[in-house]
Symmetry: C2
Subunit: 198 residues, 2 copies
């Protein structure tokens, strides 16, 4: 593994745990087992290093989401696939959602920067699909945006608010993962039950 990769991985870890403000360049260097000056040698500044890490993190999630948004599956199938595959993915990177959400909240200007990108998750196809399903009478009439929010909320929230959730419903890390595994089918079942006609 090259020094640059070591730095990147260390930075990923530290930024995820402490956030941009909480992260210390020295800690990243220690974590990578190299001299602090190397951080600046490979990535000019803390901002630049963070940007690299953040973009990479977001770049992992975005295609996951986009693939579902834009697939040709039937609406129900899409919902089933999305919740399942998203949770599978996030169980591997449990801190990605809270990391992304936190940094976006702390730096709203930063948001625009990558919302212009090609990779940017764009739900318009899914929204149209929902509208069509309503017209066809396949599902109850509702606001597509609300439905989108429902799906995202149920899927992402438990990871974003991990510590709070574990604390309030009083479960261990292992129990949390088990709960999330079960959630893969629970969420789509709930949502489809709610919107399905008849």
């Amino acid at each position: 593994m090259t020094t640059e990769e070591k730095i990147f991985e260390a930075a990923f870890k530290v930024f995820q745990n402490k956030g941009f403000m909480g992260a210390r360049m020295q800690e990243i260097a220690d974590e990578a087992g190299i001299n602090k000056a190397m951080l600046h040698y490979f990535f000019r500044s803390k901002e630049k290093l963070f940007e690299a890490v953040f973009m990479n993190a977001f770049g992992k999630l975005a295609p996951q989401i986009n693939e579902i948004f834009n697939s040709d599956d039937d609406l129900f199938e899409k919902i089933r696939k999305f919740t399942a595959s998203y949770i599978t993915f996030v169980i591997e990177y449990p801190f990605l959602p809270q990391f992304i959400i936190q940094e976006m909240n702390n730096n709203p200007d930063f948001v625009e920067k990558f919302l212009k990108e090609e990779q940017r998750p764009n739900p318009i196809k899914l929204v149209k699909q929902i509208e069509r399903a309503i017209e066809l009478g396949e599902i109850m009439p509702l606001s597509p945006k609300q439905l989108l929010l429902d799906i995202f909320s149920m899927t992402v929230f438990p990871f974003a608010a991990q510590t709070l959730v574990k604390g309030i419903i009083a479960i261990s890390d292992d129990e949390f993962i088990a709960l999330m595994e079960a959630r893969k089918v629970h969420i789509s079942t709930q949502i489809i039950n709610a919107i399905q006609k008849g």
Copy 2:
């Protein structure tokens, strides 16, 4: 308004915007329009000041939640009341959820500190109520914890991930509030549709 109150409000504002790590004592002092030494005069340290602010923030939310958890209402009524009153409350303090979630995630040890408190939201009564409703055949069989998570997710997530949500579904602050207003009844409708039998 006393100096202490001025400090507290300024701290509340700054901590909420920047988080514990991002907040600067000088900025709090400036915001309060007083000398930095006064912060330490009234609240020994940054940690203590933060703790005061955080506990106050959490203390605002907890009773809201607990009241619903422990009321004697029927399950469906409880769900309706909770989503509506929680959203009403949070629209007034839109940054409270993300603040609490962020600081808990960044400082998991801190969690235990107040999860011992009397005020601590405790869902066991509601969980039993859900179990009973299942036994009575009023709702479909499901895991009470999942249902709890569903309710919380749908209610809290849009506020916790505010910046991301506004960015992805491309809406303004005003539209966001309107969407949340509509959500007061949307959420309970969806959930009740999903779990109700027949």
